[in-house]
Amino acid sequence: MAKQAVSFTLNGKTVDVLVEPRELLIHTLRENLNHTGAHIGCETSHCGVCTVDVDGESVKSCTLLTVQAAGSDVKSVEGMASADGLHVIQQAFVDEHGLQCGFCTPGMLMRAYRFLQENPDPSDEEIRWGMSGNLCRCTGYQNIIEAVKTAAKNLQQA
Amino acid sequence: MKVDLNKEFSLPGTGVQAWTFLQDIRGVASCMPGAEITEDLGDGNYKGKVKAKIGPATMAFNGDIIIKNIDVEKRELHMIGKGQDSKGSSSATMDLRAWVEDTDDGKCVLQGVATVTVNGKAASLGGRMMTQVADQMLNQFGKSFANNVASMGEGEEAETARGKIAEQPAELNGLAFAWSVFVGWLKSLFSSKK
């Protein structure tokens, strides 16, 4: 199939890519744009390791065509930290030991980033539901919940 | 995945008409939307294909049909259908015995016993849908078969039936089949009795 030119914003910068219609956003990010933070885990939209933020919503980028992202504002884990340093959520994951092998972490962080905007002061139960689209095999989630709580607290103080 | 199926269909025509139609492999195949015999290899061996579609799912099977036995006395057909999907990732086999029995009202029933085996990706992933898709295919096939048998008669009924055959969509409701559709077709012949 003929390739199509697609432009979107990635972490604040405009990017232009040439893709087949069938190309999945996760592949464009990883292969084409060298943003390998988001990973591929299940490919059936169950694991969430490919989670990025598209137009203010958490999205599983393995189940979105790149052509569908045309004109969108895409944020990935690579855009979380700023010149001032780590994002509060990133720091909370370190402080609470919210990651082990690190494979799910970029997706987890991007989901937490959006979730805490949807719900700035969540209970444990709300975190469990709000983060339930992201699987982790290492941590048993317990410290991720702590990390999200810590981040929530620190974000509110900031 | 292996499914044993038994099925009984009441038909509008006579036993003789039904038996005549049952021996017409091309005709029987045509009752299944999307199926066709592509080659007659002689000696009861055929090549055929089924393009199965339902909703967004499609699957194309190429395969062999082998007529193992035709028992005129019992009006029974024994055939084996074997197919592999064109991508080589799934396959299905059906071992089928079908026969026609007369009923007291001068009409007849089509009886069938079949074992259907599905292998590959379709078996791994299709389990959730297999039975249900098959069940809904049943009505479609049954209607077609019945129409064909009815059309063999005379008069208005047969005329109407012939009309219905002509209207029959090339695919199930223009929607057609899931991945399990080949099984669906097979199973539609002889869905399990509850």
Partner: protein, 800 residues
Amino acid sequence: MDKVADKQEREGSLNGVGCSRKRKEDARFIQGKGNYTDDIKMPGMLFADMVRSPYAHARIISINKEKALALPGVHAVITAEDLKPLNLHWMPTLAGDVQAVLADEKVHFQYQEVALVVADDRYIAADAIDLVEVEYEELPVLIDPHKAMTDDAPILREDLVGKMEGAHSSRKHNNHIFNWQAGEKESTDRVFDAAEVTVSQDMVYHRVHPCPLETCGCVASMDKINGKLTVYLTSQAPHVVRTVVSNLSGLPESSIRIVSPDIGGGFGNKVGIYPGYVASIVASIVLGVPVKWVEDRMENISTTAFARDYHMRGELAADSNGIIKGLRVNVLADHGAFDSCADPSKFPAGFMHICTGSYDIPVAHLNVDGVYTNKAPGGVSYRCSFRVTEAVYVIERTIDVLAQKLGIDKAEIRRRNFVKKEQFPYKTCLGFELDSGDYHTALEKVLDAVDYKGLRREQEEKRAKGELMGIGLVTFTEVVGAGPSKSCDILGVGMFDSAEIRVHPTGSVMARMGTITQGQGHQTTYAQIIASELGITSDEIAIEEGDTDTAPYGLGTYGSRSTPVGGAATAVAARKIKAKAKKIAAHLLEVSEDDLEWEVDRFKVKGVPGQEKTMKDIAWAAYNNVPDGMEPGLEAVDYYDPPNFTFPFGAYLCVVDIDKDTGVTDIRRFYALDDCGTRINPMIIDGQIHGGLTEGYAVAMGQEMPYDEEGNLLGNTLMDYFLPTFVETPKWETDYTVTPSPHHPIGAKGVAESPHVGSIPTFTSAMVDAFAHLDVTHMDMPHNAFRVWKQIKALGLLDN
């Protein structure tokens, strides 16, 4: 006072053993800068994808590559026929068997590798595999291991016909792999014949898959100019892979570089050497460009490294007080089509003979038969040491059955049979020497913490109301840290491990180990060991693993062997450095070594305040001012061959409530006490335990790999295969005792696998306990709602 404060401050600033140091590796992971295999890109790299069999057992009549090769962008389609001239169509497994790299004339399991397609990108490769036409002739399928050795069973391994001497024993049947026994059969049988009480319980430890979130994959790159093969791959044992690749390819090990980059979870899935790796390496050698192959999730679950599939019978003989007199365990092990588990050579059933557990059992006999079936090959250790999960399951289940039969509380029967603290080191009747333990203390601590008596009272009340509540209890002992070379080897290489430490002139450190982290945090914890040993802050200690060009040879990370073996090597290597440093310090301070004492980060002259040299001072001197006759520099290597295994233990308790209407189970409480000896980093230990418990929960409550009679694996995506989410995962409570290993340099034992090993029988214990008053003695896993409801119904407990 100031001196004490100063010492404490210096000690604290080391970030050494015992502190919850934040992880060194996190910085890259949280910023998306991890470097996993699929993140690696090389110039000119091609992509490989695998054509797989839809059948579990079939003869390959023909393979037609033409249409695939005609697709633009396709470079090669490789089949067994292409590999035959290179003699690479079969490869050795780590278990003494061979495995087809690409199916050679027939396929033995569904999704077996048939042909490798290499193309410009993964999209074209995916299109091309659909175009490879393979014609099969179906063969009878063998799925039930109990039918493997019957007279009319189909012959699976035609390559083994007539070869009745297997790698581990003679074979009784063509589908037989091995028979392995431990203990004394006759004396055990005599004990059973004479026993006051005996119990026998059959149980199936079902087939499951470790399913790390990152699947297996590799990037193979043959540099034809320099004759060097570099392979990045998801391996828990890169050095072993290099040895195997060298043996297979004929390239010297010095021309092969294996790199395990960041690994997205292993859990045993990444110990083996898979056809995809070998085929990709061949493709790179043939095509002269880098080739990447990465499994998709279906391929991962369907083909690489399943675990368990042990069909077990546990039997105990006891007196009427519940004192165990003897143990019999019989196992039928389903290895699938090839025996590609990764046990030490002498142990085809791993350390199944740890099945005497935490108990003082006078005599025992273990019999294991391994068989082939038309299922995916393997039998790896999924977050456990070799078959320890199965061993703990069978003893913990069977002792519960005994308690039930005798009407003795399950805590009490354990108390009565524990190996006592004063009995250590304790030699088990099946041949292990348990180095240390304090089982009574651990158990009582748990029972007190949860108010066990109160829970039992509550259970009584609930039962009176017809409600289902269960209390599970397990007191397990693991054997990890393989292992002493005298008994443990992989492909003839002893299971030592290694560390190489270099102290730089300015006192910072670079250390490399033969192990490889997959989330355990080695970069953090090994540095803590060195920090405490050498008095150098762990923040200045860099740890590298996984690159065979730079790291010393090691056997890798699985079976909780990193801390017991690699950690020991690290401590010993550091002590070698410290010994040299002491000599240098004596030289600098112009005193005898005997006059020196060590304090945190420096050598001090005894009784002379202010006369001291810090490790940093010594490091500088090591490069410019060493005693006469001493070679300069400050580094050491240690290949540590442990004198024994280590034996972590724990006491776990679980409370479940079961909804009678639906069979849905609520894990109300799970209390896990672990004793892993010296605790290097409590934060990481807790994290490992949370993860292990969660994986145990998954196995016990939901994971399964059902095959139908035709050998189709039903459910090989994450839609069906149960990985619990945030919502299902219970909240864990952790606790600990500390019983250091007497033979480990720092007393550590390993921890990551205990929670998996220990929790699984705890869940089953709790589930069975919910029905124990109705004379249920055992329920096979997984305890999903559907199966539990069936049990409820069978007992007539449904309201209607």
